[in-house]
Amino acid sequence: MTAIPRVLIVDDQPGDIGWLVDRIVERGYEVVLATNEQAARERLQAAKDGREKYATAILDVMVAAMDLEDLMDLDEKFFVDSEDTGIRLARFARKELGISARQMPIASLTIRDDDRVKMAMKELGIPLFHRTPSTEREDINRFIDKHLPSR
């Protein structure tokens, strides 16, 4: 039996994108949620190793670096900024792990459309969508239609 294909969503406030989760689930996919950068890295590593398989990955550009529970036990020196967590993750997947777009298409979501993020994502060949859906713009729904056909 073929396993239900999975979609990796990286977002620390999944309540806000409940609608997106709903849509993907309705198309017959299973959503795997990573709420922080650390968890996301683990999932991406597993995908690279072949332990896990994802149809696509959707990254929030600004996601918590790690969960609050873990954060409380860390020393100062481990602190990293959560500003560019999405970029770091995308770079990790494409450059460090070498996961190609063919192997796993990745989309990114952002609330800001600042140039720095746009440039970084364009360089990695990852489309950047607004978290707010809009009919006038290229939005995440098109990406879903393209890569996650209803089953």
């Binding site: 620390d12 406030q13 999944p14 309540g15 806000d16 994108i17 409940g18 609608w19 997106l20 709903d22 849509r23 600004m62 996601v63 918590a64 670096a65 790690m66 969960d67 609050l68 529970e69 954060l71 409380m72 100062e76 602190f79 990293v80 900024d81 959560s82 500003e83 967590t85 609330i111 800001r112 607004h130 978290r131 707010t132 859906p133």
Partner: protein, 961 residues
């Protein structure tokens, strides 16, 4: 030998000579043929050669004459007594060695006897003269001389008359007295004077043989006396010449001469002293009179000296001008001026000596005493002869070494000459007068000098010129003027003062000066010309701006009055530059809104710039009337500042102060203050400041400390940070708004295409509502933030915090669910303790933000508790959660705007605005908030405590009743 002893026993016995002939016969056994005591004039012809020989050889001569007519031999003897031939003898008998020896011895004895006799008489004379003089009450020279002559004729034998004259140094009689000798009027005196002249020119003061001036009295002898102090005396005696007593008297008087000279000397001194006393008294009354009454003075002198005319000239610059005179002719003259060396007066001005003349018209006398070739009277004062005739006495008046005037007096011909005593007395008076005059003149000018603190001072005297104009000739410059004009005192002396001005500069002053001169001429006191700006030409040709004032001083002691101009100048070149700089600087400060002030230590404003008026609202007039303490919100601050400025003097101290404007508004100023001292050491303070109220408000707005004024750089940094923060904040708010909005939209989009099952709607609905509320909450945050920042007032109402907390919880249900968190609200404690009078929506925002915060930073599955508790100082709203422990050092910082801890930054949802707004709202309600971390129930809990102080509570109770 018994005879010889008796010779010496009574040396002045008048019958001695009768007893001598029998005594010689007894002693020698020779009959005396003839006996001539003191053979002066008439002796027998046969005796004459012998007497002459004895006198020539100064020894006794004895000769035996040829025997004739059988009468036996005759012995002739001229006996020398050691001083003169005192006895001529003719004895009948032959010469033998014994006789010869005894005669020689007799001659010696006679000499001894004469000396003894003369000494006895002289002693008696001296004692009587002494007694008589000391018994007199008022001694004058003339009276003393009379006493002496009387005693002489009374006491000395064979002395029938005596005349005594005291002469001054020019052999001019000071006084004459005679007893038993007639001296008649002027002719006698004139003859005495001529005699004195001869003595002075021919034989001096040595005794003159009687025969040489027999023509004068016929039978008189005379002696001259040398008296101390340049005086002389002449004693003329009418004595029985050739008689033994006459000889004795002469002898006695001879011995008395030095005593007489000393006695007359004392008399002269006493008389001179009395004379000086009179002048001293005159000086005392006249010279101490202020101002000097010179007219009065010359009249008094004229009277005292029995003078025909007395005139006083004073020095003005290099000439003498008439000051006062008793001579009506001179007084009527328009101008009486003597140049140095001009006439006798001018001669005295030059020589600085005194001069006494018997006859001014005697060219010889004038030449002898002055070296001048005087051809008759030549009075500079005019063609008239006036009182200046014949007898002349003049002295130069000194002040130090400088001749300041000439005092002269004269008598007409036929009047007595001025004598040495007169001269000495007048010189004495002249010295006193010189001192008084010098003091008067110097004080006149010196007062003006001393009265001025000006840098430069030059005095010029207005001298008339030949063309009817005048020349202000400089004669006195102080160091300041020498510096200003660039020349030494010698170089400036005598220059035309008008040349000190730049071309045209004097012309502008001229009218004012002329007016002042006219005023000075008509008034008694000096006239001042008010300071004006003018330009001075220095000796090197450069110019200096000066502030110059003039004083016109009139010396009215001379006629016509002489005018002095005293120029007082201050170099203002530099001060003008400084003043201009100062003015520009003040204008700049004014433009920059920086106030300048200067005040005294009592706090009264001495100077205030317009900027100060703008800042404080007090005008310069207002400030002049109030103490500056009134400007301070805390008046004690000013005293403290002054003390600090004093201890740091002369450095500036910086300070920031709260002032109260005239309209009672309180403002903040920042500036610097320092103590200054003027030349006299008087203290004042000056300072600069600017209004920094707005700046401090800005700093407050920027969350910067208001303890100090931030430097521009720091402030700019803060402003930039603030602007960046606002941009960040806006985008962050946008982000946060967009997230729930897009969630709402996403759901609605989904449902637009395909209406979901009812179960899905029910599952999603709380999220959707929650997201919408979050949006509303954030928009409210923005609006409250605006309200708080603007400091707007707001309405309050009584609110139960319990109710507010419960309402708020509902909004967060979905977030609580997502984090699997539990929120406990201790309703009873909140209801019991926290019913507060607040703005409902603002307080709601406080609770919302605190709960939002707690949810954001709480561990999953942990508990958040809201409760109230009572404290000594008030009631506390407490919200606690278990989350990121907040380190001690940032527990205050988390309330600052834009602050997020490094750990919180790992969670990308906060804006750093929530807690800041919480604190602002809480403080606007007179409550306070703080963050605490407390260990309880096995872990660390973050607490946020809002303390509503008792004032809230009491107020509530009261109003509820």
């Amino acid at each position: 030998m018994s005879f010889f002893t008796t010779i010496l026993e009574r040396p002045t016995d008048r019958d001695f000579w009768e007893r001598l002939a029998p005594a010689i016969k007894n002693q020698l056994g020779y009959r005396v043929v003839s006996l001539y005591p003191f053979p002066a004039g008439s002796v027998s012809p046969e005796f004459k050669p012998l007497v002459q020989q004895a006198r020539r050889e100064r020894s006794s001569k004895i000769r035996e004459s040829a025997q004739r007519l059988g009468r036996g031999a005759l012995l002739h003897a001229a006996l020398w007594d050691g001083n003169d031939v005192s006895l001529g003898l003719s004895l009948r008998g032959r010469l033998s060695p014994e006789v010869s020896e005894q005669l020689l011895e007799l001659g010696q004895l006679l000499g001894l006897r004469r000396q003894l006799g003369a000494q006895q008489v002289a002693a008696r004379l001296e004692s009587r003269i002494g007694q008589s003089l000391s018994g007199q009450e008022r001694r004058t020279l003339r009276a003393d001389l009379r006493v002496i002559t009387r005693v002489l004729i009374e006491e000395a034998p064979a002395l029938h008359g005596a005349l005594l004259v005291a002469f001054d140094d020019e052999e001019y009689p000071l006084a004459v007295a005679a007893s038993g000798l007639a001296v008649e009027g002027d002719s006698s005196l004139r003859q005495l004077w001529q005699f004195g002249e001869r003595l002075a020119t021919e034989s001096g003061w040595t005794p003159v043989p009687v025969s040489d001036w027999m023509r004068f009295t016929g039978k008189a002898t005379a002696r001259t006396l040398r008296i101390e102090g340049g005086y002389g005396g002449l004693l003329i005696l009418d004595v029985e010449a050739g008689s033994p007593d006459g000889y004795l008297a002469q002898e006695a008087v001879e011995q008395c001469l030095s005593y007489l000279a000393a006695t007359i000397g004392v008399s002269i001194q006493l008389e001179a002293a009395a004379w000086l006393q009179k002048l001293h008294d005159l000086a005392k009354t006249e010279l101490e009179h202020k101002p000097l009454r010179l007219d009065h003075l010359v009249h008094r002198l004229n009277e005292l000296f029995s003078s025909g005319a007395t005139t006083l000239f004073l020095r003005v610059q290099s000439e003498l001008r008439l000051a006062a005179t008793t001579d009506p002719h001179l007084e009527a003259c328009e101008e009486v001026v003597y140049q140095p060396g001009e006439g006798l007066t001018g001669h005295l001005f030059n020589s600085g000596q005194s001069l006494r003349l018997f006859d001014t018209e005697d060219p010889d006398e004038v030449r002898r005493k002055t070296g001048l070739e005087r051809r008759g009277p030549a009075h500079p004062e005019g063609p008239f002869v006036g009182g200046v005739t014949a007898r002349f006495l003049a002295i130069s008046i000194h002040s130090g070494e400088r001749v300041v005037g000439v005092l002269r007096m004269c008598r007409e011909k036929g009047q007595p000459k001025f004598n040495l005593q007169d001269e000495q007395a007048l010189r004495f008076f002249g010295d006193l007068l010189g001192t008084a005059l010098a003091f008067a003149l110097e004080s006149l000018i010196y007062d003006c000098i001393m009265g001025s603190t000006s840098v430069a001072l030059a005095v010029s005297c207005r001298e008339p010129t030949a063309d009817g104009g005048f020349l202000p000739r400089t004669f006195l410059t102080n160091a300041g003027a020498q510096e200003l004009l660039g020349g030494s005192a010698e170089e400036l002396d005598g220059l035309d003062a008008r040349e000190f001005y730049a071309p045209g500069a004097y012309r502008r002053l001229e009218d004012r000066l002329e007016k002042a001169f006219r005023q000075a001429a008509s008034r008694r006191e000096s006239v001042e010309v008010k300071p004006v700006l003018s330009r001075i030409r220095r000796r090197d040709g450069t110019f200096r701006m000066v502030r110059i004032s003039h004083r016109i001083v009139v010396d009215r002691r001379v006629h016509p009055p002489s005018f002095y101009t005293i120029g007082l100048a201050r170099d203002t070149t530099e001060s003008l530059i400084h003043a201009a700089q100062h003015e520009r600087l003040m204008a700049m400060l004014n433009e920059m809104g920086i106030a300048y002030f200067r005040c005294n230590s009592a706090g009264y404003t001495l100077e205030s710039s317009p900027a100060e008026g703008r800042i404080t609202g007090f005008s310069e007039e207002d400030l002049a009337g109030i103490k500056r303490d009134a400007l301070y919100v805390n008046p004690a601050e000013r005293k403290r500042l002054m003390a600090e400025a004093r201890s740091n003097s002369p450095r500036l101290i910086e300070s920031r102060q709260q002032l109260r404007r005239k309209d009672k508004d309180e403002i903040w100023i920042a500036g610097a203050l320092r103590q200054i001292k003027d030349a006299a050491g008087k203290e004042s303070f000056e300072g600069l400041y600017r209004d920094v109220t707005d700046r401090l408000k800005l700093q407050t707005f920027l969350n910067a400390s208001t303890d100090r004024l931030l430097p521009e750089k720091e402030l700019n940094q803060k402003l930039r940070e603030n602007a960046e923060f606002h941009l960040d904040y806006l985008s962050s708010v946008g982000h946060q708004l967009l997230t729930p909005l897009s969630s709402l939209l996403g759901n609605l989009e989904n449902w637009k295409n395909l209406l979901p099952q009812e179960s899905t709607i029910l599952r999603r609905m709380p999220y959707i509502v929650g997201q919408a509320r979050v949006c509303a909450r954030m928009v409210k945050n923005l609006s409250f933030m605006d309200k708080i920042l603007r400091g707007e007032s707001f309405q309050r109402e009584w609110i139960s915090m319990a109710q507010l907390a419960i309402e708020t919880t509902l909004d967060f249900q979905h977030l609580l669910d997502a984090g699997k968190l539990r929120l406990d609200i201790d309703k009873p404690s909140l209801e019991r303790l926290l019913v507060v009078r607040v703005h409902r929506e603002m307080l709601r925002q406080v609770v919302v933000n605190l709960v939002d915060n707690a949810i954001k930073y709480s561990r999953p599955r942990s508990k958040i508790t809201i409760r109230a508790f009572e404290r000594r100082d008030g009631h506390v709203f407490d919200i606690k959660n278990r989350g990121l422990p907040i380190p001690h050092e940032i527990r205050e910082k988390i309330f600052e705007r834009g602050f997020r801890s490094r750990k919180a930054k790992m969670i990308p949802t906060g804006t750093g605005l929530g807690l800041w707004l919480v604190r602002r709202i809480v403080e606007a309600h007179d409550a306070s908030i703080r963050c605490r971390v407390l260990a309880e129930q096995g872990g660390e809990w973050n607490h946020f405590h809002i303390l509503f102080p008792h004032s809230h509570h009491r107020f509530r109770r009261r109003s509820f009743r």
